[in-house]
């Protein structure tokens, strides 16, 4: 059993990660001794009853108390307000970083530019990972010359977030490859945790869907609908489909630009087929999803992270269209209908026609999605997380030694003549390496 410091947003924070924490922590706390650390003003009382909650100030964390634990686990996401404090602690107190987002420019921009008011650090960080070009574009961003989306794509700053950590957990295998570069922390990809709704209720949903069997078939889109959700492509595909009358589309969630979407719907003559439902309260979500026939969960470009909403669609046994990119590309072929980013409209239309030709095949796909959820069991996730954390902690001497290597490099640049640098760097590296990992017979393989 381990003693664990847990840092993440907690209910009632408006964050999918707070929801995730509310699911994971009770399981984790049932198996290990957990303290959930927070800098939020409020924590939901029912949550505080389940898990020990402690408060900290990011400017002055209680190191003595934190050091009583065996390991600290930090959850990072793209929101600087929610994760800023967590990241600040993680920098000074090495632990396991769980990356919920991989593109973190928004996060660093907020933390450096607004929270800490340190534009020098912002620019230095960009330069550190992306060179002169990074600094240059950072300055342009600050003066409004480059937009946030462009910066996010060009400068994900993922490695800055995990620098100096004991280990990194992601929920995406593609992120794994990205992060496995020197100098590396150990990295693991875990299946995104999700507890499937009990069978009995699911059967109820199947019955509801069966009763609402259609045509017309209900297509559904959910969530925070920004430009990368490909609504434009979906509307075009629908509009261009001869059999479009067989479908209805419910768009549920917050639109990034509602007036633009309304105009498109008008322009494409889809008013009768498309319904803008807005943000749905929980009770209505169940009604909506249990009677839908096909979910559309496109993303392009993807920020790489796993999708909670995809878990939900599978929970409802809903076949889903997803873009073959990022995390989505690793989903099982037989439980998903893939859309190629460079052939969106055509692929969407092909799937819609295939649906009409054989709705049962798509129902079966949805069922297989439901089966796929078993891998995402919470208990397995918690055990995998803790096991990874334990093995990463065993490699902890790496962290101060690598930091020392950086410091030495910096010092040597001041005074070491290039003719001698090969020798001395090699010599120092030898000793540093041994200090990191011990000698052959001591090392874990």
């Amino acid at each position: 059993m381990l003693k664990i410091n847990w840092f993440s947003p907690l209910p009632p924070a408006h964050s999918g990660i707070a929801y995730y924490a509310s699911q994971i922590l009770p399981v984790l706390a049932g198996r290990h001794e957990v303290v959930a650390w927070t800098d939020q003003d409020q924590v939901a009382p029912e949550f505080s009853e389940m898990v020990t909650v402690a408060r900290y100030q990011p400017a002055n964390p209680p190191w003595r108390a934190l050091n009583d634990a065996d390991v600290s686990i930090y959850h990072l996401g793209n929101h600087g307000g929610i994760h800023g404090g967590i990241w600040q602690v993680s920098r000074r107190h090495p632990g396991i970083v769980v990356l919920h987002d991989l593109c973190l420019h928004d996060f660093f921009a907020m933390v450096f530019l607004r929270t800490l008011e340190r534009p020098d650090l912002y620019l230095a960080t960009l330069e550190r990972w992306y060179g002169e070009a990074g600094r240059h574009d950072g300055e342009a961003f600050r003066s409004g010359g480059i937009g946030a989306e462009t910066m996010a794509q060009r400068f994900p700053l993922t490695r800055e977030a995990v620098w100096g950590s004991l280990g990194v957990i992601t929920h995406s295998r593609s992120a794994l490859d990205d992060l496995r570069e020197k100098p590396a922390s150990p990295v693991a990809a875990l299946d995104f945790p999700y507890t499937a709704t009990p069978e009995a209720r699911y059967r109820g949903w199947l019955a509801a869907r069966g009763a609402a069997s259609g045509p017309p078939y209900r297509l559904v889109v959910f969530g925070y609908l920004s430009r990368n959700r490909r609504l434009g492509a979906l509307l075009e595909a629908l509009a261009g489909l001869g059999e479009r009358q067989q479908f209805r589309l419910d768009i549920c969630g917050q639109l990034w630009d509602e007036s633009h979407i309304r105009m498109e719907i008008d322009r494409l003559g889809l008013n009768a087929l498309v319904n803008l439902r807005g943000f749905l309260p929980d009770g209505q979500v169940e009604q909506e999803l249990s009677t839908a026939h096909l979910a559309v969960n496109l993303r392009y470009p993807s920020m790489g992270e796993a999708s909670l909403s995809q878990m939900q669609f599978w929970d409802y046994g809903l076949p889903t269209l997803v873009t073959r990119t990022g995390w989505y590309a690793s989903l099982p072929e037989d439980a998903i209908a893939f859309v190629r980013p460079e052939h969106e409209v055509a692929d969407i239309q092909a799937h819609l026609r295939a649906f009409l030709a054989d709705p049962a095949a798509f129902r079966a796909m949805g069922e297989r999605g439901r089966q796929a959820l078993k891998k995402h069991d919470l208990g397995n996730y918690v055990d995998a997380m803790v096991q990874f954390a334990s093995s990463a902690v065993a490699l902890s001497p790496r962290v101060p030694v690598l930091e020392l290597a950086g410091k030495i490099g910096h010092d040597l640049r001041q005074w070491l003549h290039p003719a001698a640098s090969d020798y001395l760097l090699e010599r120092a590296s030898q000793e540093l390496f041994t200090m990191c990992v011990g000698k052959a017979d001591d090392r874990d393989s």
Binding site: P94, V401, M435
Partner: protein, 349 residues
């Protein structure tokens, strides 16, 4: 042989390790060799400094001097014992204790107060596990240290005892009405335990404390306890004393009470034995237990004021027994062959 004694020290602070290194140096020279002490400076705060100095030690070269071989290097303390040498012997006085058993000690723990404390602690532990076994022989200050080294680092070693400074000058004289407790005054030595025990004694036991407090607060706390328990008549604070005065106090005491917690060695125990005095210590005192034989050379009491009080009462009330135990203690000291000659022989063989 040319023998280099390598130790680590904090500038301006001179402690037991410096005295021991000096004794060793003299003893090696007395045995006909050339010996020198090299003290490498060691600053342990903030923790990030520690890996720097570990690496600095690994980069030093003490294999030769002006084309003359340095035949033997004796490493005494962290991180000096990390310096490489093909004929290195370690006589471990301490590992870096706050990375081990003092990690979360309320008074002594230091790394634990820093954000990078744990990872530096782990780096220290790995360095010990990795580099200590490079030595051709590993000795320690005491069985206490040997057991800790085995437990914490999985490394086998042999205790090698050394005599206290001025060993030949201790003597025995007529016991008077007091127990003697010479030591730095701090929570680890547990003067407070003795004070609390005194309050529970049935006999009119008296204790003379010698030594300086680590800081004013320590001294004040002890004085306060004595006042509150109304023991002012039975407690004497001698403060810092000369070596000569200290030996006199030993010589004229009824016995020595020395109940520190997890002491690595404890010259006090040996000084008491050399003065033919019984020693009262506690079950968790560590080092002293390697020398005190319960019921024969002294008494080992439970680490409670009540148990300690009973032990003090027992000797206070039976002077003959105390004296006999003292004699037995002296004999035991001799039997243990705690001599510099023995130390030098082991370290240089």
């Amino acid at each position: 042989m040319k023998v280099l004694i390598l130790t680590s020290g904090v500038p301006f602070i001179r402690g037991g390790a410096e005295i021991l290194a000096g004794g060793l140096c003299d003893a090696v020279c007395a045995a006909g060799h050339q010996a020198e002490i090299l003290t490498l400076p060691f600053q342990s705060c903030p923790p990030s400094r520690i890996p720097e100095q570990m690496l600095a030690c690994r980069l030093l070269d003490v294999t030769e001097t002006c084309s003359m071989r340095i035949d033997r290097v004796i490493g005494l303390k962290f991180p000096a014992y990390l310096v490489p040498h093909p004929r290195k012997v370690i006589w471990l006085l301490h590992q870096h204790r706050t990375a081990y058993e003092l990690w979360n000690h309320p008074a002594a723990g230091d790394l634990i107060h820093y954000p990078d404390g744990p990872v530096v602690r782990d780096a220290i532990r790995l360095a010990d596990r990795t580099f200590i076994p490079e030595a051709r022989s590993i000795y320690t200050l005491s069985r206490n240290v040997t057991e800790r080294l085995q437990r914490c680092s999985g490394i086998a070693s042999e205790p090698l005892y050394n005599p206290p400074a001025g060993a030949s000058l201790f003597y025995k004289s007529t016991p008077q009405d007091y127990f003697f407790f010479p030591s730095r005054i701090n929570p680890v030595k547990r003067q407070w335990l003795v004070i609390q025990a005194l309050a529970l004694c049935r006999e009119p036991v008296c204790v003379r404390f010698a030594g300086e407090a680590d800081n004013e607060a320590q001294q004040a706390e002890c004085a306060k306890a004595v006042r509150e328990l109304r023991l002012s008549e039975r407690v004497e604070w001698l403060g810092m004393v000369t070596e000569e005065r200290k030996r006199d106090c030993y010589a004229n005491s009824l016995g020595v009470v020395f109940p520190p917690v997890d002491e690595d060695y404890g010259y006090v125990t040996l000084e008491a034995m050399l003065s033919s005095k019984p020693v009262i210590t506690c079950v968790d005192s560590g080092g002293p237990l390697e020398f005190v034989v319960d019921g024969q050379t002294g008494l080992v009491a439970g680490a409670t004021p009540q148990a300690l009080a009973e032990a003090m009462d027992a000797l206070w009330g039976d002077r003959r027994r105390a004296a006999t135990m003292g004699e037995t203690g002296l004999q035991r000291y001799r039997d243990l062959k705690i001599t510099w000659e023995n130390v030098v022989e082991k370290l240089l063989c």
